[in-house]
């Protein structure tokens, strides 16, 4: 019983299997050639926009944004004193907002003042709102 013998005896099975494989190949490649253009999402931009959204979607950070808005510019001490937060926590959240580019810092002597980047905020909210509007349809 050599290998040749095996092929000879099982010829029809082997052929069937190969026809199946070829048919499967065409089935999968045909749709591939018909597909629409690939939607590319730039990874770097995805990271940037995820950071912005993550920074915004947080109740306490929203409260901090609201508080800075009410006061135009403000230093960290006043933020944590008024909102009754721990300084370390406040600084942590401000850092996240700053890295997302939503708040700007200005140094004035030994104080660091925080203010909102309104252009960035309104640009972000416009993009988010129009995205979510499409979702309803």
């Amino acid at each position: 019983m050599g290998l040749q013998h095996f092929f000879y005896n099982n010829f029809d099975k082997i052929i069937n299997w190969r026809i199946f494989a070829i048919a499967h190949y065409f089935k999968t490649t045909k749709v591939t050639s018909m597909r629409k253009a690939k939607v590319n999402i730039n990874d770097e931009k995805l990271q940037v926009s995820s950071e912005i959204l993550r920074a915004l979607a947080h109740p306490l950070r929203m409260k901090i944004l609201e508080f800075i808005d009410e006061n135009d510019t403000i230093n960290v001490n006043k933020i944590y004193n008024t909102l009754k937060l721990e300084q370390s926590i406040t600084s942590q959240h401000l850092r996240i907002l700053r890295l997302a580019g939503l708040v700007i810092t200005e140094r004035d002597g030994k104080f660091i003042h925080y203010k909102l980047d309104y252009d960035k905020l309104s640009n972000a909210m416009e993009a988010i709102d129009s995205f979510l509007e499409q979702e309803v349809n």
Binding site: T28, V31, T32, M34, R35, K36, K38, V39, N40, I41, N42, E44, K45, L46, Q47, V48, S49, S50, I52, L53, R54, L56, A57, P59, M62, K63, L65, E66, D69, E70, D72, L116, Y118, D119, L121, S122, N123, A124, M125, E126, A127, I128, D129, F131, L132, Q134, E135
Partner: protein, 112 residues
């Protein structure tokens, strides 16, 4: 649809008022989080290539456990990135290209 108080803030000192709603922001976060994941991106690429696949096709191609594949597909489905279609006893997964281009537009605008 009026938003619950306390979950919405309005920033008033800019050129125009900016309203932030926590629940809305969360929705957008979940969509970006769904696609910002290496394995789920591979699933998207695979569905891009084959158009329609069953869970079995997907987990075999990606050499995953079925449960893992199902979990990640569910996340993509909740984000609206993939949709399912029943054909007899098979459930086929496919990409929602329109949704993907909406997400792409969101990413472009946010990162601008």
């Amino acid at each position: 649809m009026r938003k619950q108080k306390g979950e919405t803030i309005v920033l008033k000192k800019g050129k125009q008022e900016i309203q932030l709603d926590y629940a809305e922001l969360r929705k957008a976060v979940l969509v970006l989080r769904a696609i910002n994941h290496k394995l789920r991106q591979r699933m998207i690429d695979l569905l891009e290539e084959y158009e329609k696949m069953t869970v079995t096709d997907i987990y075999i191609k990606l050499r995953l456990e079925q449960s893992v594949a199902s979990q990640h597909l569910a996340i993509l489905r909740r984000a609206g990135v993939v949709s399912t279609e029943r054909d007899g006893k098979f459930i086929y997964y496919g990409l929602d290209k329109d949704r993907l281009s909406q997400i792409s537009k969101l990413v472009e605008e946010l990162a601008a």
